[in-house]
């Protein structure tokens, strides 16, 4: 044969061409592609040692909201808001009260004889039977109410949009407001990068607020002077991770904090001094979503913790081990 060398060369090339095509065809299949080299890995923080988990999930209720928004408790009654409704249930899930609204409530608080509901730029005051008593409109273009908390004489309203806490009298007179600015070097007032700004009043009547931008919990006097604070920053179990955490919190009877985080979703307990105590629900208890939402939390008079899971749209009940 005349061009033996060339023919062999051509055959080799043909084999190479076919091999490349077939190889590429089969390499881009789901079971043959490589893992994400750039994985943003928080797996190690999702794992929580068993001995740190102090609570167990005992039951859960489907709350019947497409978009749950908030929860609070009063004695053995749980108040839930979501969609355009307020619902009250007892601890067995029996529906006690259901009220429809024109707008979507964003949060709920029960104090004394009144139920307070926030609707972005306004607060509606209801009596325990669900009849509207009063409505407070809050001025301001950016106003966005994320939390309400009351004590005997005053009602505090957390306005995340304006980064302020407003103080009202029970009958709706705005007394003053404060931005949490303090002399202390490590505090800069409230830093609220996203609509998560929770406040609560504990059993002793102390007003606590989250400063989500610096992972701290701060206690203020009624007129807005910083009294004390504690901080826990980091992705580790004993700290608050990411940005705007804890997104929600409430108090146990002894003044311990029950905190709830977004992103790396978890519910934890801290002593009233800020010392880490343990975990109520580790991240593995929640859906592994990119934008994991922080469940809103409440505590009943038996010390059970109620978590309103926004991703699963379920109310989950945790009991002490």
């Amino acid at each position: 044969m005349k061009n033996k060398g060339i023919v062999i060369f051509l055959i080799v090339l043909a084999v190479v061409i076919i091999a490349v095509m077939v190889g590429d065809w089969y390499s881009k299949r789901p079971d043959r592609m490589e893992a994400n080299k750039f994985e943003y890995n928080i797996e190690e923080f999702r794992k929580v040692p068993e001995e740190l988990i102090l609570f167990k999930e005992v039951k859960n209720f489907r709350v019947g909201f497409e978009n749950p928004a908030g929860i609070t408790s009063s004695g053995d009654t749980i108040y839930l808001v979501g969609d355009q409704k307020l619902k009250a249930i007892d601890i067995d899930g029996q529906l006690l009260l259901e009220i429809d609204f024109q707008d979507k409530p964003t949060t709920v608080e029960v104090e004394g004889e009144n139920i307070y509901l926030a609707f972005g730029k306004s607060v509606k005051v209801l009596n325990r039977a669900g009849e509207i008593q009063d409505e407070w409109n809050i001025e301001g273009e950016n106003t966005y109410v994320t939390a309400i908390s009351g004590k005997e004489d005053f009602v505090f309203v957390a306005d995340a949009g304006n980064r302020k806490i407003l103080r009202y009298t029970k009958n709706g007179n705005l007394l003053d407001s404060f931005e949490g600015k303090a002399d202390a070097d490590d505090l800069h007032g409230f830093i609220i990068p996203s609509p998560y700004f929770d406040i609560d009043v504990n059993e002793y009547g102390d007003l606590w607020a989250v400063n989500p931008g610096i992972h701290s919990l701060e206690q203020y006097t009624d007129n807005g002077n910083l009294r004390e604070h504690w901080q826990a920053s980091g992705a580790q179990t004993e700290n608050f991770s990411g940005c705007c955490n804890p997104a929600h919190f409430c108090f146990l009877e002894d003044g311990s904090f029950v905190t709830s985080e977004k992103g790396l979703v978890r519910i934890k307990i801290y002593k009233s001094s800020g010392e880490f105590l343990g975990v109520v629900a580790p991240p593995t208890k929640f859906d592994d979503k990119i934008e994991g939402q922080a469940p809103d939390v409440a505590v009943d008079n038996k010390g059970n913790i109620y978590a309103l899971d926004f991703d699963r749209k379920v109310l989950r009940v945790f009991e002490k081990n």
Partner: protein, 461 residues
Amino acid sequence: MNQKTNIESSYKLQANSHKPLVNSNLLSKMNTENWDCKLAVMKYAKFVLFTFAFFLSTFALSAQQQRFPKPEFDSGYTQPSPVTPEPRALALEYFDVLVLLLVLSAATYLALKSRSRQGILWLSIFTLAYFGFYRNGCICSIGSIQNMVLSFFDPGYSVSITTLLFFLLPLLFALFFGRVFCAGACPLGAIQDLVIMKPISLPKWLNKTLGLIPYIYLALAVLFAATGTDFIICRYDPFVGIFRMDAKFHMIVLGVAFLLMGMFVARPYCRFLCPYGVLLSWMSRFSKWHLAITPSKCIQCKLCTTSCPFDAIDFPTNEKEVVKSGLGPKRFVTYALIIPLWVALGVFVGNRSHTFLSKANPTVYLAELMISKPEIKDDLDNIDVQTFRASGESMDELVLEAEAIRDKFYTGSMIAGGFLGLVIGMTLLNTVVFRKRQDYEPHKGNCLSCARCVDYCPVEK
């Protein structure tokens, strides 16, 4: 495929919970007598409500995030906005069409009128520079087949006017002037044309057999484009990596292999792979005008046959040999009669292979994978499986989707098989068709109008 595995994670606690749910409480408050008939309505209403609320919720979430006010800056900081450079201007796309039209006209003029090989050579160098290295080999007429097909089968996709013209213009020119597109307007052809060193002539049987590959490639390309699976012509375009001067390793290997091959087998991609060449060849066979080797009467010097690197010149027929070989009406009739058999065989093969072919579709492949290997759902490194699981789509939905695609493949691959059967039958029939030829003539289907033979022809006008 029919087997359905339950892969979604279930909330165990929720399933085991014996406590009454708020929802059921609501239900029990209703009149229990017409509970049954209400159930169906409720179910449907719930579904509608859910989908509505789902859309609403995603919107509300993003809207809320956007509405949340930014920090107020005291230091006079002005917020920058993200930089989003505009894509290539539309006017430039139209300019490409104009360039294509000019190049095609120039190639026609150079091949048919001025009969200048040198002119064609310079034109292909321009094409290589413009459509190849400047336009990075994209947009290209070869790939536009798939855009056309996709626009017919995907209601959500409509072809752009530029793509349509890129598809249409070369075919129109081929219908009137032969494959002048291949001669001077195709960057893939141009780059191969420049590397031809020592072309060897392939045996006729090999030429014919390899000549079937473009039909297979075309059939697969159309099938995959119609089912929305893949654009294989673009995926295996061997030279686009070279034009771009940046590609994955295997693309470079492919391009270099084709170029090395092209040193000895002239234009291997054009002759034995290019699916657009199939369409051009159909048009060119019936072209009104075509490049002629001699400007006047052929003197049978055979010089042109050695000049053609593509084996595209037909020899004069020797009637005596034809009679001796027994080619004739009898064999013609036999070959014509077995064409339906070829078609039937093609349909059968298409039917048999549709399952295999459908695995090219990512959805079908994923469904198959998750059914055949249920344990893969625990493989956290498998991005596709984990993404599917996180998407909230159920296994049943995925299987349904995959089955719908497989149905398309079922019809599609039978049609493609039938088409290939017809092509094989016709190719065989062609081998026994006797056409009287006295001179050396270019084969109108295979001739790329490169005008090399014109240079060699000693006959003066």
